[in-house]
Subunit: 219 residues, 2 copies
Amino acid sequence: MKQFDDRDRAVLHRIIRARRDIRHFRPDPIPSEALTRILEAAHYAPSVGFKQPWNFILIRSKEIRKQIKGLFEEANREELEKLSEDERLDLYRSLKLEGIMEAPLNLAVTCDRDRDAPFQLGQGQMPEMDLYSTCLAVQNLWLSARTEGIGVGWVSILDPEKTAQVLKIPDHVRLVAYLCIGYPVEFRDRPMLEEAGWKERLNLSDLVFEDGWGDKNEG
Amino acid sequence: MKQFDDRDRAVLHRIIRARRDIRHFRPDPIPSEALTRILEAAHYAPSVGFKQPWNFILIRSKEIRKQIKGLFEEANREELEKLSEDERLDLYRSLKLEGIMEAPLNLAVTCDRDRDAPFQLGQGQMPEMDLYSTCLAVQNLWLSARTEGIGVGWVSILDPEKTAQVLKIPDHVRLVAYLCIGYPVEFRDRPMLEEAGWKERLNLSDLVFEDGWGDKNEG
């Protein structure tokens, strides 16, 4: 049984706290050994019924990325409209929310809903479990990238169906994460939205309950 | 900008590969400092719009865990019925799929769908993003627990609505993960389902495509 010591534990916490959602990338390509390590980290994530429901679509084509960027702009116009009466409109407009064209690599992480069908262990009551497993893989990937000095940015301002169409993703497969990957201009100390004054980090102790929602028996 | 070296990177990969889904627990309680570190790791996960949509319900009450265990048994009977004609029935029956009563701590991780409403940055096109963020927190927690020598097991064979009712979770909050947490009898080398012959680990290279689903331009 492998054990970890205080130093190992501290390393993990440093990685977790140094990870950022990156939108400003340098053009340098990602070495293939680093990319392999990052994908392996994802692949060793837990999955419901050991389903390993994920696929990874590496997107280097400028043509395809241009189409995705167009989908982002379309979707972001809708978001701007929602904020047209909101005092945060200018702040929102100032935020850089993706790095699709600058990042040397885009990565779509998908979930194959049919894998292992018809009996999908652990999904009978919670059919979304395979989507959740795919997210666990994304977090492994994100942390692993950070140790390579590589940044990851998750772009969610995209119509998932149109994006899936561009990537020829079949109907039984769900796009879970569209990621921009590359060496960042910098890893900032705090999340961009915190620095920009969009939102503060919540107090963890306010979020912890005991034995039932809202109960703070203290512990 | 914090940098990580080869040694740090290797530590992360060791943690990722040593993490297991645990169902056999020892009764020893979890020290509060370790629990705090684990929850902090979760809280430092990325979240859409920096929403931090999670809450953590620590469940130590035996009475409540007994109710949850009853829900597991009810749900698992349904699963067994689905397999009644399947050659894997006996294998499935032999699997231990939860450690609700043995683990010293159960933890429900939830997602508050209303947090930051009405304008939820990054969720306009993909409303499920906050659920996904909550999963990222679970993976941080899982890895962090592993460095403490603490095991985590995700129980998904539970009716989520009935479970939410037992935990008094309000309608606008979704139960994402029900976890059993404690010191394991052992951390095995491979996933339990792999060892039991339920399913093998897939070949990563089969899961990687280039520029579109199914394309293997090699890279």
